[in-house]
Symmetry: C4
Amino acid sequence: MLEQLKEEVLKANKLLSSEHLAILTWGNVSGFDPEKGLVVIKGSGVEYNIMESQHLTVLDLGGNVVEGECNPSTDLDTHLEIYRNFKNVRGIVHTHSTYATVWAQMGRAIPCYGTTHADYFKGDIPCTRKITKEEIGRDYEKNTGKVIVETFCGLDPDVMRAVLVRCHGPFVWGNSALDALHNAVVLENVAKMAFLTDGRVPGQEPLVDDELLKKHYNRKFGADAYYGQSGETK
Amino acid sequence: MLEQLKEEVLKANKLLSSEHLAILTWGNVSGFDPEKGLVVIKGSGVEYNIMESQHLTVLDLGGNVVEGECNPSTDLDTHLEIYRNFKNVRGIVHTHSTYATVWAQMGRAIPCYGTTHADYFKGDIPCTRKITKEEIGRDYEKNTGKVIVETFCGLDPDVMRAVLVRCHGPFVWGNSALDALHNAVVLENVAKMAFLTDGRVPGQEPLVDDELLKKHYNRKFGADAYYGQSGETK
Amino acid sequence: MLEQLKEEVLKANKLLSSEHLAILTWGNVSGFDPEKGLVVIKGSGVEYNIMESQHLTVLDLGGNVVEGECNPSTDLDTHLEIYRNFKNVRGIVHTHSTYATVWAQMGRAIPCYGTTHADYFKGDIPCTRKITKEEIGRDYEKNTGKVIVETFCGLDPDVMRAVLVRCHGPFVWGNSALDALHNAVVLENVAKMAFLTDGRVPGQEPLVDDELLKKHYNRKFGADAYYGQSGETK
Amino acid sequence: MLEQLKEEVLKANKLLSSEHLAILTWGNVSGFDPEKGLVVIKGSGVEYNIMESQHLTVLDLGGNVVEGECNPSTDLDTHLEIYRNFKNVRGIVHTHSTYATVWAQMGRAIPCYGTTHADYFKGDIPCTRKITKEEIGRDYEKNTGKVIVETFCGLDPDVMRAVLVRCHGPFVWGNSALDALHNAVVLENVAKMAFLTDGRVPGQEPLVDDELLKKHYNRKFGADAYYGQSGETK
């Protein structure tokens, strides 16, 4: 079942390694089929180069296993919380990619310092608040998801497709598992350039005005987008 | 038509990826044939590894399509403005390469900190002023080109073959598309070394004197250049 | 003799190069067989790409050669001191990997800035005190081991499997030579992210609370670990 | 003539590229035969991947061409000045490798922050003084060599095999062209780790004491060296 989705999730997990977003087993990708209401996710602790379809687990949004022999990723409950709350998400990527993780470790949102950022993310990329001792003690991974959702109060997950979990690392989403992977590649590069820029701008102010931010975001993703070939929005 | 130019522009676009100047679709190269008055440019949003000759568009300097099925790069009007104003330019490269983009995000010209810089760029590599709300609102890409041209008031584009567009990234040119690509590789490396040097020089002053700057530039590009083999200037 | 251990130690030494932990001959791996009481270690100054089984030396814990033509690594006596004192260690890796070495050169322990660190190291990764003139003058490598052991007064080498030798570089251990290698890969990545984070956290305080540290460490290595597939702890 | 030396110089030049010490044509290697009194050096502006034996030039120490069609490297006169003054040098490498060049651009000697440095360089790696307007105006490359020699007043080029030319980049030497190449690889890595350490040591003092410096240098290169296999000193 869900052969096409599994194939895509498998491919996206392997790309974590080849796109240098994750070493060892430091990342996981899931995909969601909204018609069946089912999630496909990487098995916990499986290395990317030996991963095959059998290392994927299929679950419903309540976390009940429908198919698969492997324990799902320990971050499963964070993925599920995102799917349950952000209605258009079809794929999620979690990594410990270097620069995105450094911003998470600094506990800071990534300011919009340039059009590379604005081309994909409509504003600062948020960082969650500190998780409490109580939230760690019980249902830690689910609570991580709840803190992400709380962070998006007033933010639209359809135009801001990434978040930094404080002291942990990024979660990134998209229209599909591969689209989420694409956005995770963008995030890491934007995070690196922002890290290098930060603290070195004369006057210390982010330089991208709101008009420039909107112009770049909208020429790729707005109603009158003109980036790319016809029929594409990216 | 323009088969040789197309082949070179295609090759230069693919080199964006293999020379690590652009990931995804984050860069574009064009070439110009002065006799025919035509420009060849990359199609918008096409990935480098699948790009073929058919993904190139041929246009006149007024932006009228002469050949090709693809929408040209969204940055087309910036390229055209440069070709219209800088008479000896035969190729243009635009990228979001990491360190050149970081300088653009800092909104700063790249100071000449060493002979590696002086070997190719005769002085500080300029950064444009902030683009205004009005310039963003209408003909944004063309206005980006106009701001570049304005920046070169008093600067010779034949000896300073690169500019940083503030908050955006570099545009680099040359005698051909491949020469522009070569200069873009140099720019990124010079930008990285300048970034690492900047703020750490005792006394905070750039160290290259005007004599050393001219000596190095001229031994490669001056009237009595002696770098390379006979008949070459580079 | 010890064919299986030799094979693993050989593989781990070659991985030093392919995992970018050591260039030239800047690292060495050993393995320990507790039943026979013997150590297998890389020969001094042998390059990884030409290394074969014959370049390994077998010694007892007193440093007496049992088999092998090569002089053992100059760091042998440091390895032996660790095996003699940390009873569960079965493999040791020493490198000059860039960021771990930079922390050693700064003479600082690596603070726990994130869950990537907490997933593997239960607390700050310690740095040894300065070695004295007397300790350098006689039995330098053995004294390096003694200073490591002294650093672990009050620290459990079973949950803190790495140390930075001040002004020198990291020693990392594990359940086997390959496990030690795995931990050395983790250390270098954690060291890089901590280096980039350090000094840039608003308020300058490490952000990982003790609860989060324990949660992450224990979900991988604790009594009720649930990371990975059944039967694995990692 | 000098077929073996040419082969080695050719190999060392190609290694500049594969060891990531030079992009484009940003480096050159020469070798010296003391019996014949002849130098073999790279042709100016030749790219490494197309370089063959015919792109090498043979000259005497006065700079007279003995064999070869190519113009020698523009840095030839700096190489010759070094060979004329440092009697045991048999190979010289000049690069613009990133971190060594950044130290040259900062105009600073590289302090000895760790044993990686001490293993190869017995003390701080010096940086030349600023070259004067007069020295640039006439015989620039020869004067660059003279300033290097002046910098070694009181320094032994047999135990300090590298120098940073201020605002330019490193020159490194050794017992052969390949040994010089080896030392250039070491220099770049030591320069990177020192750059990252510098300014971040609590108290701001280099941490390596003289005893530790001598211990490490001498265990590799001293009279009683014990690093490596018998008959080797490295």
